[in-house]
Amino acid sequence: MQEAPFDAGAELNRFSAGAAGAGAVVSFSGIVRDVEGRLNAMEIEHYPGMTERAIRDIADQARERWSLLDVMVIHRFGTMRPGDQIMMVATASRHRVAAFEAAEFLMDYLKSRAPFWKKEVTDEGKTWVDATQADEEALNRW
């Protein structure tokens, strides 16, 4: 949880170096996407306190379900520009299937169960991003 930008490559290297015994490291980076070239900024609001608690809970669930050597979650809040990194998840495991599945699980839960709300800022004004049915349904597979 941080407002400041982060260096995804440096975080990946630090994470991989720390995960002794890992054969597989999967990372996911979420980036502010410039929808149709009209997005000026993305504002992310969060619920201090609950955010940390929810992320810790989701990471603990991943550790229980898969044999992981390490898990990392970074999520920013505040104002970001198109191309900026919003968040990052990384998982380390002995084998690739666990690392992939756990990373997807973390992403699906962070999308819909961690208290963040995105607002798009364009020339026409500011609009809260709607949660999608697809994101909610993505939780059903776990």
Partner: protein, 81 residues
């Protein structure tokens, strides 16, 4: 009891948090009390199915009891990641 609002719920009600004196037994009863207060609350809580609630920073249902709860938060579905 501390009541917190986030995203468009916060914007519609016009404040991020407030202290509420209530005897409401459940979240749903608290929502009814708030809606009865002023139009902006009625507007924010018009469609409960579009809202989520957390009790002491844990997601909960609208029929959950409020006994012992110190912090209630209302917000739209999350859009993290």
């Amino acid at each position: 009891m501390n009541v917190l609002y986030f995203a468009w719920v916060r914007e519609r009600i016009g404040l991020p948090r407030e202290t509420v004196e209530t005897e409401a037994a459940t979240v749903a009863a608290l929502v009814e009390e708030l809606k009865a207060r002023e139009e902006r609350y009625a507007a924010a809580f018009a469609d409960i199915s579009a809202l989520r609630v957390a009790l002491d920073q844990e997601l909960a249902d609208f029929d959950a009891p409020l006994a012992g709860v110190r912090e209630v938060a209302f917000f739209p579905p999350m859009t993290g990641g």
